[in-house]
Amino acid sequence: MKYQFDFSFLVERWPDFLHGVLLTVEMTAIAVIMGAFFGTLCAVAHTGKVAWLRRMVSAYVEVIRNTPLLVQTFWLFFGLAAVLRLTAFQAAVGALTVNVTAYSSEIIRAGIESIHKGQVEAAESLGLSRVQMLIDVILPPAIEKVIPALTSQFVLMMLASSIMCQISAEELTAVGGRIMLETFRGIEIYIVIAGIYVLLSLLLRLVFRGVAYVAFPRRRRMKAGG
C-alpha cells in the first residue's frame, strides 16, 4: 500500500465544509422542531379516545418504521413530483420530518402511557379540560421522562440526513461529494466528514442536555437533591 494521504485540500476548501455543516445544522434544526411538534400531536392522538384517529396514526407509524428513509425520500421527491413541486432541500426536510415524527411519536407515547393514572384522575376531579390536562399535567412529565430517548432519535436523524445527498440536496455529505469530484481525494474527504459528524452528534447531545436543563427545572432539582 503506497498511498500518500493528502489533506491539503482543507486549506482552500474549509469554507465549503463550513457551509455544508451549516446546511446540515439548518436541515436538522427544522426537522427536529417540526418532528417534536407533530410527534407530540401524533402521540396525543394515539393515546386518545377517537378510534379511527388511533388507527390512522398507528398505520402511519408502522409504514414509516418498516421502510427505509431513502425510499420515503425518493417517494416524496420523485414520486410526488407531479403534484408537489419541492426543491431538493424542502423535500429533504419534509422526508426527515415525516420520518422522525413517526419515531418520536412512539417515544412520546411511551412517556404518556407511563404517567400514573392517579395524576389523570386528580386532574379530572379538578375539572380541567382535556387540553388543560394535556398541557399542564400529562405532557410535561411525559416528555421529561423520554428526553434521553428523544435525543438519541434526533441524533440518529441528523446522521441520516447525510443520505439526502442522493436527491442532491445541499448538505455536508453532498458538499464532500462535490469536492471529491474536483480533488479526487475520496478517502481523506470522507474521513474529515466523518469527524465532523462525530463532533456534530456530540454537540447536538449537549444542546439537548441544555434544553432539558432549562425546560425541566424539576429534573435539575432532583439531580441536585439526590
Binding site: 428513509l69 417517494w75 455529505t173 464532500g176
Partner: protein, 215 residues
C-alpha cells in the same frame, strides 16, 4: 401492466441482494458485536473504555459516509474490490456497534444477585459468564435483537451511495427507463415493508411474552 418481466426480475434480484447484504452484516456484526459487548462489560478498565470508544465513534458516523470510507479505503489496497464487499464490511461494523450496545444492556440487566451468587460459588470469570450470566442475558436480548434486524435491513439501502444494486437502487434503475417514480417507489417501499413488518411484529410479540413472564 407497467413493469416488464425483466424489470420484475430486477426488483426481485435487488430484494435478494438486500436480504443477503443484511444477513452478511448481521452475522459479521454478531461475531464482532459479541466481542465488543464482552469487552464493554469487562472489569478491566482500559478494555471497556476502548470498546465504549469504538462503539461511540461508529455510532457518530453516518452510514452513507462509512460506506464511502470503506469503499475508497478498500480501493487503496490496489485490488478491484466489488461494492458488495465494501458494503458488507460496512454493515458488519455498523451492526457490531449496535448489537454490542443491545447485548451490553442485556448482560447488565441480569440481576446483580446472580453475579454475586456466582462469585460466592467461586466460579471463574469464564464460568460465571458462560454458565450463569450469558444464558439469562440471551433470553432478554432476543426481542431487541430481532428489532435491530429491521434496522439492518433498512440500513442496507444506504449502499446505493457506492452503487451497489440492492432493492432501492434497482428501483432507481427501473425508474430511469420507464419514469413512473410514484408507482416504482411505492412498490419498492411495499417490498421493504413485506421484509420488515413480520420481524417488527415478532419482536413486539417476543417482548410482550418476556414482560408477561415477569422478566
Amino acid at each position: 401492466m407497467i413493469f416488464s418481466g425483466h424489470q420484475i426480475l430486477l426488483l426481485l434480484q435487488g430484494m435478494l441482494w438486500t436480504v443477503l447484504l443484511s444477513m452478511f452484516g448481521f452475522i459479521g456484526g454478531a461475531i464482532a458485536g459479541m466481542g465488543l459487548a464482552l469487552m464493554r462489560v469487562s472489569s478491566f478498565r482500559p478494555l471497556s473504555v476502548f470498546a465504549s470508544g469504538c462503539i461511540q465513534l461508529i455510532q457518530g458516523i453516518p452510514l452513507p459516509v462509512m460506506m464511502f470510507i470503506s469503499y475508497f479505503g478498500l480501493a487503496l489496497t490496489g485490488y478491484d474490490i466489488p461494492a458488495l464487499v465494501a458494503a458488507a464490511l460496512c454493515m458488519t461494523v455498523f451492526s457490531a456497534a449496535y448489537l454490542a450496545e443491545i447485548w451490553r444492556g442485556s448482560i447488565e440487566a441480569v440481576p446483580r444477585t446472580q453475579w454475586e451468587a456466582s462469585d460466592s460459588l467461586a466460579l471463574t470469570p469464564f464460568q460465571k459468564m458462560h454458565e450463569v450470566i450469558i444464558p439469562q442475558a440471551v433470553r432478554l436480548s432476543i426481542p431487541p435483537t430481532v428489532g435491530f434486524m429491521v434496522q439492518a435491513i433498512k440500513s442496507t439501502s444506504y449502499a446505493v451511495v457506492i452503487g451497489f444494486v440492492e432493492l432501492t437502487q434497482s428501483g432507481r434503475i427501473i425508474n430511469n427507463t420507464i419514469f413512473e417514480p410514484f408507482i416504482i417507489f411505492t412498490v419498492v417501499g411495499a417490498l421493504y415493508f413485506f421484509l420488515c413488518y413480520p420481524l417488527s411484529r415478532l419482536s413486539q410479540r417476543l417482548e410482550a411474552k418476556l414482560r408477561a413472564r415477569g422478566a
